[in-house]
């Protein structure tokens, strides 16, 4: 440092200027630093603002999606609750066919689950309460009295709209704006009116609530319609049953009268037959003795006549015996013993009886049965039936013809049929041949003697066994009579 420099330092002006410069420099440095700091702070603030802005944008997204989610969740929950309730109502009332049972479903549980504190259902025509939940009797009476004079306001509507004057008046009575009113109709006529009000959970009645209420009302309408149809059907059925009962009673009466007549006829036949049989037996005895010339030799002409008398007495005896058998069967006096028995042997034995007669007429008679058929039958009665059927076949089969007696098992039954190659029976006569004394009128038949009682007896014998008998015939070709008998179990 030189002298000049030292002197300058001692100079106060110089020193002041120097200090000033130093301060200025320091200030400049400070300001520069501060400016730098402010710039940095600004940048930080801007960055933070940007972050906050971004966060705010994210908040927007979060809130929007959260709200949407909650709305959907709410909607789904509401719908699910209502659907469950409607399902429950339908399940409980699906098969209900009485109005009382149907309206009993509108109970406290249903109304509360639907979300309302109060409900009133009343008959629209009688203006009487059908059911109510949580209602005040005074309010109920006021509502019914109001609707009594405002019936027209409900007609043609499914649910009372918010703008309806009547809804406003009911709302004033119930002191709540949260209510729903709907008519319950059968066809187009209002049967009842349903009102629900005062939501349990504080909330305004919304569209889904209205829809659920409307669905329930529509369902009630459908149920009422179903009940109406059932009631009408029930009345028809009732009337029909009444008529059937009347007709049945008439038929029973007629049947009883027929039974009385039939019994009288059987009794008459039986009595007459009995009365005839005694003298006939005596006549037969004497005629037989006379024919056999036990009282001495008879002139030839007298003997001829006596033989004719004896033949006719035999026929008469057969008629009387058959009639007696029919009468006994009809009156239940004949003792029937249906027991296990062998059918094949019986068929063969009966057929053998007719072999000489058939041979005489040049008729082939054959038997076609399995080795054994164990059936349940009254042997003596079935024997008579077979004798009648094979005898008839022999009578109506012309010379050179053929008779076949078949016996076979069909499931748990034995089917016996007697087939001939006779003249056959006309179709119109088929359903009459089992009647007593009925004889088919044709030239062939006229030549053959018969009483018209044989088939009638056969039918009764088979009926006594609770089995079936039927006939198939081709006119000019032949006839087949068939009947069934029950096979013995494990046979």
């Amino acid at each position: 440092m030189n002298i000049f420099e030292l002197q300058s330092l001692r100079d106060p002006v110089f020193t002041t200027i120097l200090l000033f410069f130093v301060i200025v420099v320091i200030l400049l440095i400070y300001v520069t630093q501060k400016l730098h700091y402010i710039t940095r702070l600004r940048k930080n603030i801007e960055a933070q603002d940007q972050t906050i802005g971004e966060l705010d944008q994210q908040a927007k997204l979060i809130i929007k999606s959260d709200m949407e989610l909650k709305l959907y969740q709410q909607e789904i929950e509401d719908k699910l609750t209502k659907l469950t309730l409607i399902k429950e109502l339908i399940a409980n009332s699906m098969h209900t066919l009485s109005k009382k049972d149907l309206f009993a479903q509108l109970n406290e549980h249903l109304i509360h689950t639907l979300g309302y504190q109060k409900a009133l259902l009343f008959n629209f025509n009688e203006l009487s309460i059908i059911s109510e939940v949580g209602c005040n009797p005074k309010e109920n009476q006021e509502i019914i009295s109001l609707i009594k004079y405002k019936k027209e306001a409900l007609k043609g509507l499914n649910i009372l709209p918010r703008s309806s004057e009547l809804l406003g008046q009911i709302s004033a009575i119930l002191k709540t704006k949260q209510l729903l009113v709907a008519p319950i109709k059968v066809l187009e006529n209002i049967y009842a009116v349903l009102i629900v009000s005062n939501p349990i959970i504080p909330a305004e009645i919304k569209k889904p609530d209205e829809e659920a209420f409307s669905i329930i009302c529509m369902y009630l309408c459908q149920c009422l319609d179903k009940i109406r149809l059932f009631e009408s059907l029930y009345h028809t059925k009732d009337n029909l049953e009444k008529k059937i009962k009347e007709r049945t009673a008439e038929l029973v009466k007629s049947l009883r009268a027929i039974e009385v007549i039939s019994k009288a006829k059987s009794d008459f036949i039986s009595a007459v037959s009995h009365e005839l049989r005694t003298p006939l037996t005596s006549v037969k005895g004497f005629s037989s003795l006379l024919v056999e010339e036990k009282f001495g030799k008879l002139p030839e002409e007298a003997k001829k006549r006596l033989i004719t008398i004896d033949d006719n007495v035999n026929k008469l005896m057969t008629i009387v015996n058959t009639l007696l058998d029919i009468a006994r069967i009809e009156s239940g006096k004949m003792e029937v013993k249906i027991v296990p028995a062998e059918l094949t042997k019986l068929i063969k034995d009966v057929t053998d009886l007719f072999t000489p007669q058939a041979a005489e007429k040049n008729i082939t008679i054959s038997v076609n049965t399995p080795a054994s058929l164990n059936v349940l039958m009254d042997k003596s009665l079935i024997e008579r039936a077979l004798i009648n059927l094979i005898g008839n076949a022999a009578k109506f089969t012309p010379a050179g013809g053929k008779i076949t007696v078949n016996g076979r098992q069909v499931e748990n039954q034995a089917v016996v049929s007697v087939e001939d190659t006779g003249c056959g029976i006309r179709q119109e006569d088929l359903n009459k041949i089992f009647q007593e004394f009925y004889r088919v009128s044709n030239p062939e038949n006229a030549k053959i003697h018969g009483t018209g009682l044989g088939l009638s007896l056969v039918k009764r014998i088979i009926d006594t066994h609770k089995e079936k008998i039927w006939v198939d015939s081709n006119e000019g070709k032949g006839t087949i009579f068939s009947f069934t008998l029950r096979m013995l179990k494990n046979a």
């Binding site: 802005g53 979060i62 809130i63 709200m67 909650k70 709305l71 005062n198 349990i200 305004e204």
Partner: protein, 376 residues
Amino acid sequence: MKKEEFTIALSERDREKAIKEVSLKIKSAFPKEVSHLIIFFTPHYNPVNIINSLNLTLKPKKIIGLGAPLLIHENRIIDKGIVACCINKTGVRSKEIIMKSNEADEIESLLRLSLQRKPHGGDSFLLSLLFPHLNPQTYLKSLHVSLGRSLPLLGLGYSNQYAPRAYQIINNSLNETSANFYIENISITSTQIHGYIPIGKPFIITKASSERGIIIEINDQPATNLYKHYLQEKFEAFKKHHLFSLYPLGIKLEGTRQLIHITDCLEDGSLVCTGEIRENSVGNIMLIDQSSANEALRQKMLLFEGINDALFFVVNSLSRKKILKNSAHSEINLLRETLSGSQNIIGVFSDYTLAPDKERGYITMDTASILVSAWQ
């Protein structure tokens, strides 16, 4: 309280059957006499029938009854039923104060006169059941003036226009106005659990009317613009479905967040709300989900660790139930799980609760929280 000092009962049957069932259950626990009976019932039951039936079967010395939209019993939310609690603890006394007026001055003098010689705190507390005719803010102001700001209090109230017919049973009569019950010889420990988390940019309430419960402007704009900002094109649907309660406002007051529940919006863009509103307070829109709710519940329930043999009285929020839906059931279930088997839970749902806020040192109103109190 010990088991020999209280019992609880529930019935979910219909009408009189439910009252009979509850009476029989209590009678079997306390066959001799019933001192205090607290009974909560859903709107499905007729309060007159409840009074008649109780007087026939139990003949309690005192009845405190309340009709509520939903009840709580142990780990369940009951949507139809009667929940009762019988307290037979020695020395328990109660005094009812019915508030027919909704004027602050009258409420203040009524409370002062009714409770002037009663001790505030210790083993006594005030149970307030408030109905829509009374503005809760007015009531809180009167309460603070007359009885001080740190009074042990449990309060619940209904403000919603769709609230069910609010009934109280006070001994043998029905009451449709707000009432207080001063209960002696029972000490309470309480906490409010919300679990909401702030979301989005903070805002400032620039214009509000706390008396009318209206927020007029937020950030110098109509208050509804806050929701329009976040919901944009969804706002109309939001407004139409009255969904404001889904997103309450969380206002910062003395270091804590106070929830304000929005009930409606006016045509000028103002928001009608329940809760403590102050101009120039800062807040956020709040959001809750099950995990944040459960976490808050676990944290807050630590307060009750070490409390044995207590009856837990829970007041849950209707708007919280609306937001959490089915998660509200699991929340109650979780609440039950945090307590031991010897502790019983009963409760109701309401629109708002009143309880002392320890951090702020005075009674606050909450609209979306669970108020849990242990009675000993």
